[in-house]
Structures are given as structure tokens and as C-alpha cells.
Symmetry: C2
Subunit: 169 residues, 2 copies
């Protein structure tokens, strides 16, 4: 905030360097997400998040996954996924199928058409990512970036699996 002056707060404001870092983070993430969204909207006719869903499906056994699991891995809500898959279905890139073992469940499935689209646009997408990030960083920085992002992500997970050990109350 910086400008928030004269308050007997015990709030630990960000110091100058922290502010600059935070601002850089905001700018970089916003610019990159924008960049990739446009790149993929142009080349694959879909937003980055949707593309990510197709990628996940392509890596799953039989190119299919339970909705909840897909949502969990993609870090989005089930609701959002529901809408997203509906849209992907309209475009013919994915379809749904009832889960045999659980009558509540649905499997999201990558269609051949979806896979083909992925193949076509993957090189361009990778190039964009590489150009924006990896081509610009030293291997030290790449390593550091990985560590940092894992730490941040870890801290925000609603306790990813097996963390139910020291469970008070």
C-alpha cells in the first residue's frame, strides 16, 4: 500500500523491495496469461484453461478422467469444469460418459478431434511458453523458479492428500 500513512497498525506492510517484487509478480502473471490466452485463442480457438484441460486428459489413461479428479488436478472448481466441458463438448473436443462404478460420476473424455487439435497447437504453445520463460532465464533461475512456485502452491493447497495426520479437535 505504501501510501497508507499514519496508522498505529501492527500490520506488517510490504517494504520497498517486497512491493516491487509483488508488482513484478502481478505484471508478469497477468501479461503471460493474457499472452497465452491470445496465442491459443488464435491457434486453437480456445482459452488457455480449456487447453490445459485437454492436455490433462491426453495424459490420462484412456484419455479420460473423472470430473472431480480433473477439477482437482487443474485447480479449478467443479462448477467451472462443468461449464468448460460443456463448451468443449459443443466444439467436439471432448465428450462425457457415465462412470460405471459410481452412478453419480461422469468421465470427461478427450475425443480424437480434440487430440488432433492438441497436436496441431502444441508446438506453438510450447514455443510461446519457452519464449516467455525458459529462453530468458538462466538454469539457476529456472531451478529457483520451480522451487519457489512449488512452495507457493503448496501453501495454498487445501491440504493435498495425506495431510490429515495431526488433526486436532
Amino acid at each position: 500500500m505504501g501510501v497508507m500513512t499514519t496508522q498505529n497498525e501492527d500490520t506488517r506492510w510490504l517494504n520497498d523491495e517486497e512491493q516491487r517484487t509483488w508488482l513484478a509478480y502481478l505484471h508478469a502473471t497477468m501479461l503471460l496469461e493474457d499472452h497465452l490466452d491470445r496465442q491459443l485463442q488464435r491457434d486453437a480457438k480456445m482459452p488457455h484453461v480449456y487447453y490445459g484441460l485437454l492436455v490433462q486428459l491426453s495424459q490420462a489413461p484412456h484419455r479420460r478422467m473423472r470430473m472431480t479428479e480433473l477439477a482437482r488436478q487443474a485447480k479449478i472448481t467443479r462448477s467451472r469444469l462443468s461449464h468448460a466441458v460443456a463448451r468443449l463438448e459443443q466444439h467436439g473436443w471432448a465428450r462425457r460418459e457415465d462412470c460405471p462404478s459410481d452412478k453419480r460420476g461422469q468421465n470427461a473424455i478427450l475425443t480424437d478431434e480434440g487430440y488432433a487439435t492438441l497436436q496441431q497447437s502444441a508446438p506453438g504453445h510450447v514455443a510461446a511458453v519457452r519464449q516467455a520463460i525458459f529462453d530468458r532465464l538462466t538454469s539457476e533461475q529456472q531451478k529457483s523458479l520451480g522451487e519457489i512456485m512449488r512452495i507457493i502452491a503448496e501453501g495454498l493447497q487445501p491440504n493435498e492428500a495425506g495431510a490429515d495426520l495431526p488433526w486436532l479437535r
Copy 2:
């Protein structure tokens, strides 16, 4: 994408560590943006981006800024800003005013009410950011994060200022 097999492509796919780094980046940024959006939606009744706009205005002379300049600093499109300010106006957090020197221009202005809201929610917001990032990183990592994000942002800017020197054609 890793699963993309057998292609005589000259595409430089991401290696294993690069993939893990990229995935961590996606997860961290997505989780954090979600986290802050919820935190601010709860405490300040507005999404993170809108909050950022008010912050920028609060730091500007006379708490006002030309629309285009605000959009530029916030890294969003003018269209998006136009809608956003309209909404902020509805809530009484901002207002518009014609620019005296340029009849096309508009100034976005932070209202007292907007400033008050900012003051109320700033401590919680800073705490959230600190808890998600700075409290978890060593000072080495903080420094590194800043450098890295500046590099990435810089590479994605449509050539921020003064880059109009070697202008071919």
C-alpha cells in the same frame, strides 16, 4: 506435451524439469489468484483486479488518473477498464470526470468511500499476500523471484516506452 510421440518435429519440447516448473507455475498462479479473489470478494466486495485499480488510483496525484494510463499501468485493456470503472462507479468507489486538456479524455477518480474501503481491507490483503509468498520464501528466494518476474514481464511488454529507436521500414 510429453505424450506427443513420434513426430519428426524440430519442436523443442519441455524437458522433465521444465515441465515440472511450468506446472508449478500454473498451479501457484492459479491458486494464488483464486485465493486473493476470494479473500477480497469477502472482505472488500470486489475482485482482485478491481482492488488493484483502486490501489493505483490511491497512489496517483489527486487520486486520479487518465483511463489509458491506468489501463497501461494495470496491464489491462482499455475496454476492460471501461467496464470495470463503470462497476466501481456503481458501488461508489470511483467516479469519472472529463479531462480538461483533452476532450476525448476521462479521468478515473478514487472517491473518499473508495479510499475508506481500501484502508479497511488493505491490512487483510497484505497479510494474505505475505502469508502466501513472503513468509514462505528466504530472502534469497524473494530476491530471485523479483528478478525472474521482472524478466518475464519485460519480455512480454509491447515495448514499454523509449523502445522506438531502431525503427525499421
